[in-house]
């Protein structure tokens, strides 16, 4: 055990799907488990913060961290793992870009609290209680982690060595990533352990795409019966394929749904949402200003399409000060 590389798998603000994904590598999980000494995996085994604290700095070879950072506890755990680990792998869309919950950054903490604890139709809150970091209940003190104003991607809180995007990351890339670490065959720091190109590159529908895509009005997924073989954009359905890194195995294409971007920006692009909107505007086929406005009206949710998984790293969401 001792000489096996120590690996930690940990979640922050996460849905647990990323850990499910690790389990979903099925048989391979046993090899990984055999080749490594998993010192921390809350989903699977004893969770001992202070054991980690007791470790030497850098004693852990690799920390695989999933989930975003939204509260003080997340931040503490993240920082602790960074201190103890040689390598940190941001695992899954939440750790890499903030993920779906990152869309909360379009709202304030206050707004969220008011709805959840006051305005939701089923809420009954005569004492107008709001959860507090510290509260007294019949003389006893109960504490809660502090809920931050916004959601952060992992690299906005700690230094990250590698990224493995996806919601969740697919089994083949997980195995590749772990093997790369174990065999010490790692690309330069900061690399994303997935292909560099956009989804169109591997999308089976790319061949059916006409050379000139022009869209007069955008269709929403419930409005049309999408053809299972034709490029979504060619059908007027918004698909982030052109702007989003490939590697997901075209999971959504396979069930006849367009890409929503869980793999984040392609190599060299910081804000895939902005880039995507730029090209989306370009393929609007309009003769007049009115037609432009009409076409744009049919873009039901610019922010929700562009930043479904990446609002916290979007250009306009300010980084932490």
């Amino acid at each position: 055990m001792a000489d096996k590389p120590k690996v930690a798998i940990c979640w922050l603000g996460s849905c647990g799907g990323c850990d499910e994904a690790v389990v979903d590598i099925n048989e391979a999980i046993l090899d990984v488990a055999g080749a490594t000494d998993i010192v921390l995996w809350p989903v699977a085994m004893d969770f001992k913060y202070h054991h980690i604290e007791a470790m030497e700095d850098g004693e852990i070879v690799l920390s695989i961290i999933n989930g975003h950072v939204r509260n003080s506890e997340h931040e503490e755990v993240a920082k602790m793992l960074r201190k103890k680990s040689q390598l940190v792998l941001a695992f899954g869309a939440c750790a890499c870009f903030g993920g779906t919950p990152g869309m909360a950054n379009f709202r304030t903490k206050e707004d969220i609290f008011n709805w959840v604890y006051r305005d939701a139709p089923t809420v009954v809150n005569p004492k107008s209680n709001y959860p507090q970091p510290k509260s007294q209940v019949s003389g006893k003190e109960l504490t809660l982690p502090e809920f931050y104003e916004q959601v952060y991607a992992l690299n906005q809180i700690i230094d990250v060595d590698y990224y493995l995007p996806g919601c969740p990351p697919p089994p083949d890339l997980i195995v590749n990533a772990v093997t790369a670490v174990l065999e010490g065959k790692l690309p330069p720091k900061g690399s994303t352990l997935a292909p560099n190109k956009a989804l169109c590159d591997t999308c089976p529908r790319n061949k059916t795409k006409p050379d000139k895509i022009a869209i007069k009005e955008f269709k929403r997924i419930h409005e049309v019966e999408a053809d299972p073989d034709t490029c979504f954009l060619a059908q007027g359905i918004i698909c982030l394929g052109p702007a989003i890194r490939t590697g997901c195995g075209e999971a959504c294409m396979n069930i006849n749904l367009p890409c929503r971007g869980c793999f984040g920006p392609v190599e060299g692009v910081a804000d895939s949402g902005a880039k995507f909107l730029s090209s989306l505007a370009s393929i609007i086929d309009a003769e007049s200003e009115e037609e432009v406005q009409r076409a744009i009206e049919t873009v039901a949710d610019a922010a929700g399409y562009a930043y479904r998984f990446s609002a916290p790293i979007s250009t306009l969401i300010k980084k932490r000060v």
């Binding site: 799907g17 939701a120 139709p121 089923t122 509260s135 006893k140 982690p145 929700g304």
Partner: protein
């Protein structure tokens, strides 16, 4: 000098949870709280999103039980657009749903519950995990569990893309159907699953019921909690996880309410406490009773045992037999035995497996008629399913373009939040006497909430799989840790 025991972390529905046990000066349990320490505010940032995207967004609420969110959301869209899914589409959805419940229930049983019973509640924790289970009952069972999970997740993948984050589901239908060649291996999977389900029940009865010590534990008062119960039933009041009416029975088993999930607001209230991020649900018309059981309580429970308690039986023949046997053993309905959740869970899994079989053999399954395009937006939609962990409700309101303006979600574990607090307190009082807590006893406490499979399941579904647990004994006044007791 009072002490405080902290069990942290234990759970994750929207994140972590922890248990605080307070000891009075004599070292007896004074009070216990189960806290949910995280919030992500989905209800809020869903505003402005197009409704049809919700089945793709809400599964991110929980990656361990994403399918119910995806399904509740999809059904909310049916309601929002006042449309019925085509018969084929409905079959595909139910196929997806059964496959999910099956793999979820078995993972919970084998990885989380079985260690307690098969290996023993007070056995050394190093053995009290799936490996321990395997060494007791044989390796091939471990393999079978993995195999059944894998194959049922293949079905989810087919329909929902990524099992931890399924995205399929559209108002009035599904984006993708099933082909004849896919039907073949789905059939095979269904048959094997039914067999496996029966085997598992037999295993449970052999190791638990046959063992007086365990049976007593199941029936003991520490694990008994008298509350209301809620769950979906079909038109014959049989268990149905995909659709139906919500039925509520009182602690004595009488029907308290039977209502369309659309009316949930009239029946369900959510109480806010400053010490937890989760909202505690209760029966609104009865008013918030606080954390009490029995007479005068307004707290209800959901999830497998609740579903069986509120129904008049199972919807499939094999499961029905098991249903009858369970209540005979527990001494009639309703059963308040918290640990019986495990048993109920296995009976449900059998019903899902039988239903999987029915669907796999239905000629309609492979029909290409997957979308009912006759959409009429009515700007309000409620979708309700029985998630593995209990009733799940998605309620959306939109503008005239179908853009979400309001979203209210009641997540399974919320219903059980208050009961869990009570069960934990009760178990703690039953087993924790003084600061010198023994590890095995802590596990007894743990078993109390593990039975609910609170979406900590999210946390504990998995490999070696025993509960992490650290107990801090703190001086109440100074808060400083006097002694740390931990299991390993």
């Amino acid at each position: 000098m009072a002490k405080q025991i902290t069990i942290n972390p234990i759970t994750r529905l929207e994140g972590h949870g922890k248990i605080e046990i307070f000891l009075d000066d004599d070292g007896n349990v004074d009070d216990a709280y189960w806290q949910v320490v995280e919030l992500r505010g989905f209800e809020r940032f869903c505003i402005g999103r197009p409704a049809e995207e919700m089945p793709r967004i809400t599964p991110n609420i929980c990656g361990v039980c994403p399918t119910p969110h995806n399904m509740a959301s999809t059904k909310a869209l049916d309601d929002l657009y006042s449309v019925e899914p085509t018969p084929a589409a409905k079959l595909v959805r139910q196929l997806h749903y059964n496959a999910f419940i099956i793999e979820d229930h078995y993972i919970h049983f084998y990885f989380l519950s079985a260690p307690d019973f098969v290996v023993g509640p007070d056995a050394p924790p190093a053995e009290r995990n799936i490996l321990g289970v395997i060494s007791k009952v044989g390796l091939d069972i471990g393999k079978q569990v993995i195999d059944i999970r894998k194959r049922n997740r293949e079905i989810i993948k087919l329909i929902g893309s990524k099992p931890p984050h399924p995205e399929g589901g559209l108002p009035g239908g599904v984006p993708r159907g099933i082909t004849e060649e896919e039907r073949e291996w789905i059939k095979a999977t269904a048959d094997d699953t039914v067999e496996f389900a029966q085997f598992t029940l037999k295993l449970f009865k052999d190791v638990v019921l046959a063992n007086k010590k365990y049976l007593d534990l199941v029936l003991s008062d520490a694990y008994n909690l008298k509350t209301y119960y809620m769950g979906l039933v079909d038109e014959n009041n049989k268990v149905n996880l995909y659709e139906g009416k919500l039925r509520v029975i009182d602690p004595n088993g009488n029907e308290y309410a039977l209502f369309d999930p659309r009316d949930y607001i009239d029946y369900i209230g959510e109480w806010v406490e400053p010490w937890t991020y989760v909202r505690l649900t209760y029966l609104r018309k009865l008013g918030w009773s606080g954390l009490i059981e029995g007479e005068g309580t307004s707290i209800y429970r959901v999830a497998p045992l609740a579903r069986l308690n509120v129904s008049d039986g199972m919807a499939t023949p094999l499961a029905q037999k098991e249903y009858e046997e369970m209540y005979n053993t527990l001494g009639g309905k309703p059963a308040h035995h918290t640990l019986a959740f495990h048993w109920a869970r296995l009976i449900e899994a059998l019903q899902c497996a039988e239903d999987l079989q029915r669907i796999a053999n239905d000629p309609l399954l492979t029909s290409k008629d997957l979308r009912n395009m006759n959409l009429k937006l009515k700007q309000v939609g409620v979708g309700c399913v029985e998630a593995a962990r209990g009733t799940l409700i998605h309620h959306y309101e939109t503008d005239d373009r179908g853009i979400i303006t309001k979203a209210n979600l009641i997540v399974a574990t919320q219903h059980n939040a208050a009961p869990i607090c009570l069960s934990v307190k009760k178990a703690a009082m039953g087993f924790v006497k003084g600061p010198e807590v023994e590890e095995g006893l802590l596990n007894m406490v743990e078993m109390a909430f593990r039975a609910y499979d609170p979406c900590l399941a999210c946390a504990t579904h998995c490999l070696p799989g025993h509960m992490p647990l650290t107990v801090n004994l703190r001086d109440r006044s100074s808060g400083e840790v006097i002694r740390t007791l931990e299991r390993s």
